[in-house]
Symmetry: C2
Subunit: 205 residues, 2 copies
Amino acid sequence: MNEERASVEIAAKAGYHHGDLRSQLLAAVRQLIEEKGSENFSIAEAARKAGVSSAAPYRHFNGKPEILKAVVTQAMEAKAVEMRRVMEPYPEGSIERINALGKCYIDFARQHPGMFRLIFGITESHEDDEILSKKGEQVFGIVVEAVAKTLGISTDSPEAKKRAYLLWTMVHGHSWLTIDGKARKQGIEFPEDQLLAEISQRVLG
Amino acid sequence: MNEERASVEIAAKAGYHHGDLRSQLLAAVRQLIEEKGSENFSIAEAARKAGVSSAAPYRHFNGKPEILKAVVTQAMEAKAVEMRRVMEPYPEGSIERINALGKCYIDFARQHPGMFRLIFGITESHEDDEILSKKGEQVFGIVVEAVAKTLGISTDSPEAKKRAYLLWTMVHGHSWLTIDGKARKQGIEFPEDQLLAEISQRVLG
DNA sequence: AATAGATGTAAGAGACGTTAACATAATTTT
DNA sequence: AAAATTATGTTAACGTCTCTTACATCTATT
């Protein structure tokens, strides 16, 4: 997640025309998504930000959807990596591991609400995209594995999948409601750690 | 200004230029949202569908966001009405009532995925809109009340809110994952009725 | 009937996505 | 090293979108 290139100048090798346009475009898009919201940003502005003409992006991508797909793919990778990282400190099969996973998922949504919205908004037009599906499976796979270990059952068992899915629905739902401000507006105010603990206890206990 | 214009459904009077443009625009938008997806439709096309120029909508709305807000408000009203309707047959305080509510929520998402996406996508730019917040509270209020009745506690108690919120997160999350096709793709295949029953049992039991 | 307000149209500004025609930098082939 | 090729930019332009302005017309009120 902390892969940000501090300055545009450094990144641009300035050797080839631009040198690093592809990744800088993705970075610009990432930034604009959070600044302007996942629906109100333009490729044209990302190009401006990268210091190129509005037609330049089309030398690297076949269109806006493909650019978004690339950004989303990056983000999902980062998310999967982060999830693996945060659960590491806790022993295999422990409930703390599950809770850390949930917290990581929700933190991602809170820290990158525009990206979160894009990830699950983009599904609308890329429902059958292989790459995105793969990334999604990876994330879910992490949860299934942790759940299976906690319950002491096989990763392949339907029960593990079911429990993992139940966890996922709650964490995913809470993530949405959080970035939508619904939780706050409905006067839900108990601490999130407690909420997560209650969720995992109810689903796995 | 009273924008309610009571009972718009009296059909186009056809006396005045168009007569019923406002509500027909909303209908056209509703249709386009499902046809083209919640992000790929235009007011211009809705105007075409209604048989007017692309400038006409701006006599009735102050811009695209306001149109979307109107459409979303309508939809949330309809959803609240529907939720009250489906739980009616079941006795107050019964778990069946809770399950019917959940099923209704998910059915709405499945039947109007574009609208569902719009409702929770629009929050991005209307987070502090009073009207939308009110509608949201209405829906949540229905759940809180049913939960409180089931648990035999006061509607105002934090516990009722908490349990209702837990239910909401799961149902909301499952709705999202369903329209995103994630459940299907992850090989989650147990029947939804069973899933809902398990959710309510775990949260309220 | 006269007037004012409501509701439509046409024309157009400004932004965007995208493509086409063209220019030059970098790489590969000869 | 020169030539050919490929990669990556630019400018100009098309069609579409949102939204505004100027104007026309319909309806209701006085």
